[in-house]
Amino acid sequence: MRLLIALVLGCVIVLCGSQSLVAHHSIAGEFDVTKTVTLKGKVTKIEWTNPHARIYIDVAQPNGTVVNWNVELAAVSALARNGWTRNALKIGDTVTVDGLHARSGAPIANARSVVLPDGRKVLSGTADQ
């Protein structure tokens, strides 16, 4: 049992550390791999769909306005095989997303990590699936 727990913990660390997302396509076509964004805000919508799950978050701007960002995650089946369900997040949760910005400059990001205020990483997907 201890071995099992150690194995699970070890793998969780590995999986969360390497947050490359499995996708049905090459990410570089849509997202600028040199342009990273860090977004903090409340979750307004969760789409537990394929080919990608998505969350939408309200991000406050320095000028006082709010921009709703569309954050692309891994495929639902990839997330599920990592043990995640649609209940990993709920509307109103505050998250910090590190991601790649859409080439168009629109408020769309491909998530590299999604982190809760207590530091827990959620909804990680891996490329080896």
């Binding site: 076509g29 080919p51 089946s77 859409a102």
Partner: protein, 267 residues
């Protein structure tokens, strides 16, 4: 003593249920996959035929058919006809048929698993189906009943496949492909003259080799052979729903000038 026996039987009977209980401390499928495929002897059907059924991952190219298929760098480019090279030069990742939820053809695979199913009959199987979870739900149908290819099949994404056994190797011979899918994300092309011969050999319980000969006189100067390995997914993994069309936003707002119907971008 009897009571103990009952308890033991009950516990043993309940174990599989506990192992699949959501929220338990069972490692996720991805965690189990990190341990590598299971080992053990090749499973066989009662008549002695190799049993290929199961949930498999891999067994084909994704990013680069030359590298992943075991060829030397530049080997495939050297076989490519000028027309194929010219076509490949027009392609970039944004034009991938995958992006528009179209199938991946043969021998390409995806990061998602597939299940091989043989039709059970009182005699030998007449069909094998390869059920694909991604990149869209689709299936390949392989006829094992001894029929021949039709003389002039209409082109399709998976072509017309007939299978036969050579000792323990399932040989799938396919013609009648369309020219729309890409062998890999690099855009390695082919034509409707494509003819593939896949040799699937289950090496042990957890590994299945796919040695594919690709013969396409419309795109390559001579046939070539590439080799891939599929691995058995851990027990408990099943195909999952993957409706690619449901929420496919590829390129719509991320790539300026992108047309999601054609996959082309107005520069």
């Amino acid at each position: 003593m009897k009571a103990h026996l009952v308890i033991v039987v009950l516990v043993v009977a309940t174990l599989p249920l506990l192992a699949q209980k959501p929220g338990s401390d069972q490692p996720s499928i991805s965690t189990q996959r990190l341990k590598g495929p299971p080992s053990g002897p090749v499973p066989r059907l009662p008549d002695g035929t190799v049993d290929l059924s199961g949930v498999w991952v891999g067994g084909g190219p994704i990013n680069d058919i030359e590298r992943e298929g075991g060829l030397k760098p530049g080997e495939l480019d050297a076989l490519m006809l000028p027309s194929a090279k010219a076509l490949m030069a027009t392609r970039d990742v944004t034009m991938e048929p995958h992006n528009r939820c179209l199938p991946m053809g043969v021998p390409r695979t995806t990061p998602f698993p597939f299940r091989i199913v043989q039709t059970p009959t009182h005699k030998a199987a007449t069909h094998i189906f390869i059920l694909q979870e991604g990149n869209i739900h689709s299936y390949r149908q392989v006829f094992l009943d001894g029929r021949k290819h039709p003389p002039d099949p209409d082109p399709t994404w998976y072509g017309h496949s007939i299978g036969s056994w050579e000792k323990d190797t399932l040989v799938i011979d396919t013609v009648g492909y369309n020219d729309k899918f890409w062998f890999d994300r690099r855009g390695t092309p082919h034509t409707e003259q494509l003819h593939t011969i896949e040799r699937w050999t289950r090496l042990d319980l957890g590994r299945m080799e796919n040695k594919v000969t690709i013969d396409d006189p419309g795109a390559f100067t001579k046939p070539f052979t590439v080799t891939f390995m599929a691995t058995l997914s851990p027990p408990g993994d099943e195909l999952m729903e993957y409706i690619c069309q449901e929420n496919n936003q590829y390129g719509v707002h991320t790539i300026p000038g992108f047309n999601p119907l054609t996959g082309e971008t107005q520069k």
